[in-house]
Point group: C2
Chain length 310, copies 2
DNA sequence: ACCAATGTTTCCTTTTTGTGAAACTTTAGA
DNA sequence: TCTAAAGTTTCACAAAAAGGAAACATTGGT
């Protein structure tokens, strides 16, 4: 240590010495406090006399003739007890900060993902409310790119988005996957045909009208891969399902949506082997500044809500 | 260190770290606080992260992108400020104990010493009242041996007594001296005789009546040394002076008393060369338990009141 | 793309602190 | 008077804490 900096030149009474003093005073002697403190008496003796030097007062008469606090010692003892209480209080204030999360958490959700039965957001929210009842939850629905932008800028604490094109500024935590497939509706030329039949006929999918989302999304990328031309743009899943059910359009649907629509009766998977793909949904937070505690806690809730154990 | 005792296992938040944290927060960054703290940034950085580990909370985002307290950091800062205030308050409570003497001080005075002009007890009292206005002074007059017994037993805090037969349990601090001499009164056979004349006549002092104190005192010891027989016992100086002035008795008087009686007119020193002696008056306190602060302070006042400088 | 500023980490040194053992000192009590 | 008990002091040592220097890492601005 080069030189003690300006801090606590005079002050910074050693809390430890004060604690020792209190115990010694309560035990009414050094010998008696040995057990309590679990320190040798030579050490205790030095502690007490150190303390006396530091605060410049003789605190007690001690020796073979007995132990007695001086009048100053009694006063110091009183003030010390109070100080130690205040320190304990400080400790518990800190503890309570640790325990009680407060504030508002802003969570973004991909607006077309709420129907997936794999998504356990509701469960995560319930868990979170259990451990952090004082945090207000703010939920916002938007497109994946808008959500990621929000998280990056700090406008959102966390978002649940399909995990594609990961940004290096963000940290992704996989939650669940959604399986997608190209569907057509009743009345469509491909309706009812098995993959083998379609393949036998050497069908060119791009010959059919295709409906998809108008914004950047896994759906859009899948469409690109099929090289289909988008004849209809939609903004939400229901609209897309409607177009497909019309029997005029091909389009990607999540399998759970197809099931919801009545499956084989209403919509039909096209070339499942080739067109099926799955999207992983992930919770995303920014890397820095590091997410705060309530965000981390929410992330944990999300993870545990989606872990296989549950 | 063999093993940290049970004290403050979890707690004992390091006050120093908290102080550093407050300064850093106030300076809004580590670099800025370097000057203020007069510590290198590497150390400060470590301090802050140590503190974060100890209390288990991230306190601030820091880095090239700027410095920002987290919401927890802000809360901790508030509580820390309060704690530091309370520590300061503790300090000043201690200081005030140091400064303000309280209680009662019991002082004993040799009851035959109050007329000596060298005794500056009044001045000492004035000084003491200046520095310790809240201490009540209790003064008791008694014989030297009674006073010393009082000090030894703790019934008295301090006494001013002629310093003879020092007791090993007591600590003596010389204050002033009183010169004594054997005197006779007008009408006595030795009145008016110079030392030489008395010696020429080969006078046997023990042939004359002698008057002295009836209790153990320097006066009594002086009488023993002269081998005079005590024909009259007195209990105070005025009675003694009266007997001597009668011209019938020899007796020891303090020179200042003789002067007060009118010196050469009224009383006459006998064989000054041989009979003169001086008594040192001293303040006396017990060695242990060590005298308390007000006693020590009073002792200081006595000393300074009697020091040559004054 | 480069630079300056802000922190962090690693490595090493110095100082302070905490500790026990043992030899002493003092005092109360048998 | 002798002894046991209570503290104090001295000595030696280990560990923690405080500190700095230098090499890194990250980021904002030119």
């Amino acid at each position: 240590m080069a030189k003690r900096a300006v801090l606590g030149t005079l002050g910074d009474v050693d809390i430890r010495l004060l604690r020792v003093f209190v115990v010694v005073a309560e035990c009414n002697g050094i010998a008696a406090s040995e057990l309590e403190l679990n320190i040798g008496k030579s050490t205790i003796s030095r502690h007490i006399s150190d303390l006396e030097k530091r605060i410049g007062l003789r605190l007690c008469d001690r020796g073979p003739s007995g132990f007695n606090l001086t009048s100053e010692g009694r006063q110091v003892l009183d003030h010390t007890r109070q100080l130690l209480l205040q320190i304990d209080e400080f400790q518990s204030q800190i503890d309570s900060i640790q325990r009680n999360l407060k504030g508002t958490i802003r969570v973004g959700i991909f607006d077309q993902s709420s129907t997936n039965p794999n998504g356990r957001l509701h469960q995560a929210i319930a868990e979170f409310d259990e451990i952090a009842p004082d945090v207000a939850i703010n939920i916002l629905l938007d497109s994946p790119s808008a959500l990621e932008a929000g998280v990056t800028s700090g406008a959102l604490d966390l978002a649940v988005v399909p995990n594609y094109q990961p940004s290096s500024a963000l940290r992704y935590r996989p939650l669940y996957t959604e399986s997608m497939c190209l569907y057509c509706g009743q009345g469509h030329p491909l309706f009812g045909l098995s993959d083998a039949e379609v393949q036998d006929r050497d069908v060119d999918l791009s010959a059919y009208k295709y409906a998809g989302y108008g914004f950047n999304s896994p759906n859009m990328r899948a469409g690109h891969k099929l090289r289909v031309k988008r004849a209809a743009q939609v903004k939400d899943e229901e609209a897309l399902a409607l177009l497909i059910q019309s029997g005029r359009y091909l389009g990607y649907l999540a399998d759970h949506v197809a099931v919801g629509l009545g499956a084989a009766q209403s919509v039909w998977p096209v070339l499942r082997d080739q067109t099926a793909y799955s999207v992983q949904f992930a919770a995303v937070v920014r890397k820095r500044p590091e997410p705060d505690r309530k965000t981390t806690a929410f992330l944990e809730c999300l993870t545990s809500a989606h872990s296989p154990a549950d």
